[in-house]
């Protein structure tokens, strides 16, 4: 480790970029929720974990390959989070944003402990046919699963981008996140938009969980790490900026991999967290001002 090995470094950077792009899928919905609902969703990480478990059990019981399970996991995540918004979060919105935040915190505690209760505290991982394969590009060896995950994440992020920029739901979403009262007066059913956004995030985060679980093992308690990683990504990419989130993911992946390369693998997440704190602090007036148009 004393001298820097150029091939190793290139491997690290490329691998990190792919991995970061892959992880971006778990973050892309978080910024939509933040924008539309003005809610920091602290149960986000647990939804990501839930997606991973869903794929794990789909594979274990029905032998469905995790990649093929992605659409099913999306539907499950969507179906699970929609009632959470409707029955639990929407009613406390009137108590202020703190109440919503702490409610998602409580939900995160509940979910995490239910995971432990029902899925045991064991560390799990997802396997596919490609899990142990690598793809050689010249001297650089990249895990095939990173490439596949990257492509899937990119595709889904593009689809979300199209949804937000090209569709009627997307227009309502942007209008509601900019000025909910005016949006309602113009004729937009804002609470339905919120509901849809939260559930969409549920589906996307669950899928993101599957991709992450294909690369790393996970436990019932992985949620808070996933939450903070997702948060770092959306701050890097600019709030409300869908493709920015994807790029932010790549950037974070590279930074984390470099951190792991130079300081040891244990520092992967640490580097990301320190960067999140620094970014939060240097963005003038906090990060809300960094909202860009889509």
């Amino acid at each position: 480790m004393n001298s820097i090995d150029p091939v190793g470094l290139a491997n690290t950077v490329l691998g990190g970029a792919l991995l970061g792009g892959l992880i971006a899928l778990s973050a892309v919905g978080l910024s939509l929720v933040l924008g539309v609902m003005k809610l920091v969703n602290l149960m986000h990480g647990q939804i990501v974990v839930l997606g991973a478990y869903a794929a794990f059990y789909l594979a274990a019981f029905w032998g469905i390959s995790p990649l093929l399970a992605l659409p099913i996991v999306f539907v499950l995540g969507f179906a699970f989070t929609a009632p959470v918004q409707h029955f639990i979060l929407a009613p406390v919105a009137k108590h202020g944003e703190e109440a919503g935040l702490l409610t998602t915190f409580a939900l995160a505690i509940i979910l995490e402990n239910l995971f432990i209760r029902f899925f045991s505290g064991d560390s799990r991982s997802l396997d596919t046919a490609f899990s142990r394969e690598t793809l050689a590009i010249g001297p650089i060896n990249l895990p095939t699963i990173y490439l596949i995950g990257f492509a899937i994440s990119l595709t889904v992020c593009l689809a979300v981008w199209m949804l937000v920029t090209r569709t009627s739901f997307g227009r309502s979403l942007r209008a509601s996140s900019e000025d909910p009262i005016s949006a309602a007066i113009v004729g937009i059913h804002v609470s339905r938009v919120r509901w849809g956004t939260f559930a969409l995030n549920g589906g996307l985060a669950s899928m993101g969980g599957v991709l992450i679980a294909l690369c790393f093992s996970f436990t019932p308690s992985s949620g808070s790490e996933y939450l903070l990683t997702a948060f770092a990504i959306i701050v890097l990419g600019g709030l409300g900026n869908i493709m920015g989130t994807f790029v932010g993911g790549i950037a974070l992946g590279v930074i984390q991999s470099l951190g792991a390369y130079f300081f040891g693998d244990g520092y992967r997440t640490f580097v990301g967290l320190v960067m999140l704190i620094i970014l939060l602090a240097i963005a003038p007036n906090g990060i809300l001002k960094r909202r860009r148009s889509l």
Binding site: H95, A106, I109, I110, T269, I277, L280, I287
Partner: protein, 322 residues
Amino acid sequence: MKNGISILLSRIATPTRVGPRDFIIVAVLAAIAFAVPYFAGTYQQEVGFRILQLGALAAAWNIAAGYTGLVSLGSAAFFGIGVYTMAIASNAGLPIALCVVLAAGVAGLFALIVSPALFRLRGLYFTVGTLALAEAMRIFVVNSPWFGGQAGIYLTARAPKAYDLYWIALLIAVFVVVCVLLLLRSRWSYRMQAVRDDEDVASQLGVRTYRTKLWAFGLSGALIAIVGSIQALNQGIVQPNGGFGMSWTIDIVSVAIIGGMGTKVGPWVGAVFIVLLGEFLIQFPEIHLAVVGVVLVLVIRFMPNGIWGTLTLALQKNRNFS
């Protein structure tokens, strides 16, 4: 007569009025609590220790979150600092009392160092920032070569007996309460609440908001670290996931919210509730925290002022109607 009682109760309940009576009540309660080990068994002493510990933590957290509006999910960072300071300093041969003071000092210093970054964040973003900070601390302690990694550090100091621990916890709980009461009597009380209610207006009325937040956040963190340092003595071994673990943040937040944020009594009511709930569910440890979560969701929705806050409001209404 009934009217007189409700006025008396509502006066005690008024969150920020602190008079000599409050100190007398604390002294009486502390004297009663002091006697507990003479007629209660080890089990009761342990439960008592847990109540005092959680109550003190939540009361300390309340200084920042309840009175100043700095809702932090980074309490584990301060707690862990207390835990590790005690381990390292006592192993270095420093007297225990000095180690406790040192824990508070290190925590205060830590607050000072992170405040320029954290205080740029308002509201929800502050909360996320503190959460990230605590996680970062935990991961740092796991990976850095100085703190014994995952395995942690064994304390060489002799583990105190249950009643000793109980009395130490009582002493610290009383200290925290007195700190809170003195703070609420002082001019910082208005400043903190003004910053919580409307930071811009507070500034327009001459309040140096940064300094106010730093005092509240630093004091809150230092008190949490003191409680943490005792936990290190209790355990005899310190580990990153125990010292810097999210479970401490979860406990603190649940106790404070269920009891009632921004009230003097709330943290203690919450601590009794949470500890007794834990004892009640002792057969089902795996669902214990999930039940706490459910209670939390229900309290936020139906009793946003917590048990004590709701009780207080009900009494005030009662007074207004009578």
